[in-house]
Subunit: 408 residues, 2 copies
């Protein structure tokens, strides 16, 4: 008998019938002799609808009131799930994040979890209840309701699992595991039996929307076993752990191919080449709350250079505003933006010990006549920015190149 934390995303509780399916899964897990805590997201498009409603009131809604508004989404789904479980004759009790002691740092719209109080959850588990907790939300020490940002429900689940020392944190979603590539793009993509935390962090950050990277980092830190599974299939899914070799003998140098189509590229042209300019530029962007991904600086010519970087496309408007300030402050000539890009990446712990992985990637792209605009590498990842229209071709070519296909 162990303690299992399960997280159900918005698509898993999108309607009443799906909530009933989730209720049955919770009950089955309990019937198998486990204590269970279920973390639930807002139903389907609820969060998007609330954001749209707020934007009808004001273009740029204040973060505190936005958190107040958005926190209602999960509060609705936990109540409905607890009702569904009770209607099937089993004990269940729901709690909001603030109520159950998800303590955050108090920053609105993108809070970090500081601590999870265990006592209230434990008390209800001891009574034999399934405990249903609202994901994505918590309260600061002075009682302000704060949300954790998009994907925050995954983080809630891992934080609760870590605090309670859960045997397993199951992330239930509408896909049945982590694949070597997006199966909609690469038809012969293969589901991985296991993946290392480190690889999963990269894949999550790179736009494989299965799992939020913050949650993976937290699980890695606390060594919480994580599993990605389908809500609607009985299936083992993909395990996220430290040592994948023991679990999946068929591992390749590259574990997966990821495509991120939600990026935009900004190029600062004619940046004066003097000390402190880069600090000024990225200081201004940081102050504006813009998260930069890749940065490329070309060689200086005539005392000026060009700097390109990528940002989430949703931040493009904000970034161009900040870029205008950058041009004025630093004497940069102009700022250009390009939304017509995608980032395609290969990830794998194995590549640390294999030379030539990156060059194989460049070759595969060249064979497809795909032009590489930017390159960025880490020890377990190579990313290239390419033209948006060629992203799917690139994913298929790379998947084939590294022998990831199911029948390889």
């Amino acid at each position: 008998m162990g303690l299992i934390v399960q997280k159900y995303g918005g698509s898993s509780v999108a309607d009443v019938e799906k909530i009933r399916t989730v209720a049955r899964r919770v009950i089955d897990t309990k019937a198998a002799g486990n204590d269970i805590v279920a973390i639930v997201s807002a139903m389907g498009k609820t969060t998007d609808n609330l954001i749209a409603l707020a934007k009808q009131v004001v273009d740029n809604p204040p973060d505190r009131e936005m958190d107040m508004l958005l926190a209602t989404g999960e509060q609705q789904s936990i109540a409905l799930l607890a009702m569904a479980i009770q209607s099937m004759g089993h004990g269940a009790v729901s709690f909001t994040g603030p109520q159950v002691g998800i303590l955050t740092d108090g920053s609105f719209s993108r809070s970090r979890i500081k601590a999870v109080k265990e006592d209230r959850i434990r008390a209800e588990l001891d009574k034999g209840n399934a405990v249903i907790v609202a994901g994505f939300q918590g309260a600061s020490i002075d009682g302000q309701i704060t949300t954790l940002g998009r994907g925050g429900s995954d983080t809630t689940a891992v934080a609760v699992a870590a605090a309670l020392g859960a045997e397993m944190c199951d992330i239930f979603t509408d896909v049945d595991g982590v694949y070597t590539a997006d199966p909609r793009v690469v038809p012969d993509a293969r589901r991985l039996k296991a993946i290392a935390y480190e690889e999963m962090v990269e894949l999550a950050s790179l736009g494989a929307k299965v799992l939020h990277s913050r949650a993976v980092v937290l699980a890695w830190k606390y060594q919480t076993p994580l599993r990605v599974r389908s809500t609607f299939k009985q299936d083992e899914g993909t395990l996220v752990v430290n040592d994948t070799q023991a679990l999946d003998m068929e591992r390749f140098v590259v574990s997966g191919v990821a495509v991120d189509k939600n990026q935009a590229k900004i190029s600062l042209i004619g940046v004066p080449d003097k000390p402190g300019v880069a600090a000024t530029i990225f200081g201004i962007l940081g102050k504006a709350g813009i998260v930069i991904d890749m940065i490329i600086q070309n060689v200086s010519r005539d005392g000026r250079s060009d700097i390109s970087f990528t940002v989430p496309r949703t931040d493009l408007h904000k970034t161009m505003a900040a870029s205008a300030e950058i041009c004025q402050e630093t004497g940069t000539e102009e700022a250009l933006s390009d939304e017509n890009i995608a980032k395609v990446s290969i990830v794998g712990i194995g590549m640390q010990s294999h030379s030539g992985v990156a060059s194989q990637m460049f070759e595969a792209l060249a064979n497809q006549n795909i032009n590489i605009q930017m390159i960025s590498t880490t020890e377990i990842k190579v990313s290239c920015v390419i033209e948006l229209d060629r992203a799917d071709d690139a994913a298929r070519a790379l998947h084939h190149q590294y022998g990831l296909s199911g029948n390889s």
Copy 2:
């Protein structure tokens, strides 16, 4: 400079445009030099929609989870109102009931307010903010989210006004005051400038849906001046106070006529006429949580009597189930129900000192050929149960009888 508490009902915040109108009213009140606390209900049909959603999950949703679900309605509207006020350049901060210290007795779905903590509201008022508080909800001492039952937002407003010693508690709604009768039924109904707490309690209980009777009782107890006003008109509305003579010289013996079409009549036929039977009957009904309104017992014949009583029509199903138990327990012959009834009432402090008020009522109804099925009287009220189809005719006849019309 005083402190004003304003309550805005669901119809006042039914859409974004109406929320903006409310925001302007709050700002105007503040601009006139007042501190302001606004209590807000859920938007339009939100609560009804959430109830419908829960009923899709389970026919009879558990109260605790229902409160968890319903509390989200007001949380959404407070956030949106605070956003709207801020977007107009004024300070505003929203709080849920649990957050701001609306302490309840902890009973789900029909909590009573035990106390209102002032410190958090005062701190925000001192900062110059308009304070927006969710109506209808609070938390028990152990942090359970509880709702106050339908009409609870009025009660929240009065409780907050009483706790803060507010100068005025304005109840904004979609009608512009309290009328001598429902203007949709009685076209020449007149708006009252003022009404006594006592009269308002009766009218509220009798189905004049302007104001919840619980809220009026609370205002009466704490001597909080109350005013019923229209959200969408600039108008003084109707003041609810102790002494109405000073405020409205044109008062009549009867202040108003009320019609309640949401009642049902149950008749227990052949009830054994022995000691303790009535106690058994109303004990069973009480245990089932059914609120009885009028009770009539006819004279005993052959050791048996008939007992009739009225209940809210929504409780009819529950009541008939309880009545089956009553028949079995007491040897009562049968229980009959009649949904085809209405209760028509006249209310007025003045009638205490006037004889003949009741007989005038019976005469007016007889002149319309309306049959009286049950009669109940208090010191300031006479109610008759009549056939549902004749309720509006009765209201018009009584309104005319007591000279309440605008041009009288």
